[in-house]
Amino acid sequence: MTTVTTQIKLTPEHSARPGASMRSRLQDALPKIVLAPSFAITIVFVYGFILWTVYLSFTNSKTFPSYALTGPRAYQRLWRWTFESDPPSSWYTSITNMGIFGFLYIFICLALGLFLAILLDQKIRGEGVLRPIYLYPMALSFIVTGVAWKWFLDPGLGLEQTLHQWGWTSFHFDWIKNKDFVIYTVVIAGVWQASGFIMAMFLAGLRGIDGEIMKAAQIDGATTFQLYRRIVIPLLRPVFLSAFIVLAHLAIKSYDLVVALTSGGPGGSAWLPSNFMYEYTFKRNEMAVGSASAVIMLMTITAIIVPYLYSELREKPR
């Protein structure tokens, strides 16, 4: 509470014009007063704790935070683990999985989302019914998605078992039990959940395209493929960017999906960096290592978000 009050006091009072009534001054200050609490909360609980995490990563904190700086030992350990590929260290597994999962998840979601959006955009009947069907998975939590797919992909319960009962006994699909393929099942579940949402974004983009341009292109004799390849997709560039940002941050924070779907996978082979961070901080009482891995995750996200913000802010004063 103290931080909130200070924050309110900090809001500049330049609006105090001589002669202005109390009421109009209040009206001027109202937006700032309303925003101040959330601003203060964000400053403390997001940026304050980021700094705290960075600080902790340079200490030797174990179960509880310790405040004596002991140098970058946690980073050195992570750096060493980065190159331990045989047998893979947990950190190596986490970051290679992040690469595989991040790339496939973003790429397939974009491709599938665009494809579905183009199909739905053909002025078909029943679009109003189809659109929510595709969009609905996004309303589920990762936990629900994970558990449902866990059952579906389990060879003893789901798809394989069912097909065996129907007579296709040679069918074999045990990726979720296989250390080399388990991360792809995470991709499948993730794509199932997010691609409908991406479709909706593209659909909105497609609806925003001026029909006159399309007509002009058709009159000029462009084929449908050319129409999309040369005109529609380039016009959707801003949607691609937004969709990419949404997917990238979903990919980096998809801790719960891995836990619900695979509980870490055979021998920890489905871990993502977020799983690594939680395990080390809270289960293994190695808070410094956990913090260091969190800082590295933050830097990864920053590397993606900052160029985006830069390009956005640069375009504004057009």
Binding site: T63, P88, P155, S263, G267, E279, N285
Partner: protein, 417 residues
């Protein structure tokens, strides 16, 4: 708030202090025994305390599991808002004691004679720096085999006394077309089984040196290599679908007769009891072959926090009730574990429980009662989890040979120390 303050000032500090010093007749308890038999067993304790006039207040934990509870506890302690007691495991107690937030029950301990009745190996976790900081609730042991009797009779098996006999028994089951070994492929289950394998392969002395003292010579010895080889042998008897399975589903496979045997701690007995199975007629409990006479244990504890003076009476009552013979018997009959003190009569226990109590007593006297590394009673969590990583990676094939496994184990433990 302001009014309270004014009244407080007006009445003067003397009266306020007097009001403050009044005992709070309430225990505030953080635990995750919220379902089924465990909750029922805990009710016995609640009633015991209610008779003495102490109210019971659960600290709510979102999420329910032990991890969520430990995270909640960390936050409470960091905020200086200690519960009266919290369910805790192994090194967690010592970590909190080292942080100086645990209470002191020594007075009650002396009065009740806990020093003599609680096994010395357990006191390593309940006594810190000469002070009693926790009340052990039970002792689980992990080196058990749980066998479906009907399947055992069908294949004509007898109790395996050595590891080789165990392999022969598993072969018989395989030939008869049942899944020989029910295992859940999660790292803690694999490591829990490996605890028994190491004890069986290397004997009690070796287990202690390797997994309690973390002696590097023993960790990289040929005996450890042989233990990994034996583990690899066992893993060939599990069904292909074992990876990621929960432990109680593996127990269910044995209960239903789909599988012959599970290697699991005695909490598995709770599942048999819930399915209305009787030891001796429906299922059999043997010590893991080659580990008879030794007990690899873990134990649930109620860690007692350094609460303000007026809450101490309730805390002492809680600890005393927890270690009372009647509660120890009533609780552990339901939970499947054995009492944390060796002088509790075994009359209410079933055959497996009676054996467990006798084994614990013998192991305590013979010095063969060891902390389970997989369950976090052999070494601190960082080491225990590094160990589970290596075992699990070996079971699932990321680590391919026992030579490599031993090297990895030594490195991982060294790294985590």
């Amino acid at each position: 708030m302001l009014r309270k303050l004014l009244i407080g000032t007006a009445l003067g500090s003397g009266l306020a202090f007097a009001a403050h010093a009044q005992d709070v007749k309430e225990v505030e308890m953080l635990h995750w025994w919220t379902s089924g038999g465990e909750a029922a067993a805990l009710n016995v304790l609640k009633e015991d305390l209610a008779k003495q006039g102490f109210a019971w207040k659960d600290v709510p934990v979102a999420g329910g599991g032990g991890d969520a509870a430990m995270t909640a506890l960390k936050a409470m302690v960091a905020a200086g808002n200690y519960p009266t007691a919290s369910q805790m495991l192994g090194y967690t107690v010592l970590d909190y004691a080292a942080a100086g937030v645990m209470g002191d029950l020594t007075e009650a301990a002396v009065k009740e004679g806990w020093d003599k009745s609680v096994p010395a190996a357990l006191q390593k976790f309940s006594v810190y720096d000469g002070k009693w900081v926790a009340a052990p609730v039970n002792v689980h042991s992990v080196n058990w085999l749980w066998i479906n009797k009907a399947v055992m009779d069908k294949i004509g098996g007898t109790e395996p006394k050595t590891f080789d006999e165990f392999i022969a028994l598993l072969d018989k089951a395989k030939a008869a077309g049942v899944i020989p070994l029910a295992l859940g492929g999660q790292n803690w289950q694999e490591a829990t089984m490996f605890d028994s394998v190491v004890l069986s392969t290397g004997g009690p002395e070796f287990y202690k040196k390797a997994f309690n003292d973390l002696d590097e010579e023993q960790l990289k010895s040929d005996t450890m290599k042989k233990s990994f080889d034996n583990l690899a042998k066992l893993v060939t008897y599990v069904d292909p679908n074992f990876s990621g399975r929960d432990w109680n589903l593996a127990t269910a496979m044995v209960i239903k007769g789909d599988a012959l045997v599970q290697v699991m701690g005695d909490w598995a007995k709770g599942e048999f009891n819930a399915a209305k199975k009787t030891p001796g007629t429906d299922f059999l409990c043997y010590r893991f072959p080659g580990t008879d006479g030794s007990v690899v244990y873990n134990s649930d504890m109620f860690g007692m926090f350094d609460v303000p003076e007026e809450r101490k009476a309730a805390q002492v009552a809680l600890a005393t009730a927890t270690l009372s013979k009647s509660f120890q018997s009533a609780f552990n009959v339901v939970k499947g574990s054995v009492p944390a003190r060796t002088d509790v009569p075994d009359t209410d226990f079933d055959a497996c429980g009676k054996k467990g109590i006798a084994d614990l007593k013998a192991a305590n006297e013979g010095g063969t009662l060891f902390g389970s590394l997989a369950q976090g009673y052999g070494a601190p969590p960082a080491v225990a989890n590094a160990y589970k990583d290596v075992v699990s990676k070996f079971v699932h094939g990321q680590i391919k040979t026992s030579d490599e496994a031993v090297t990895q184990l030594v490195n991982a433990i060294e790294d985590a120390k």
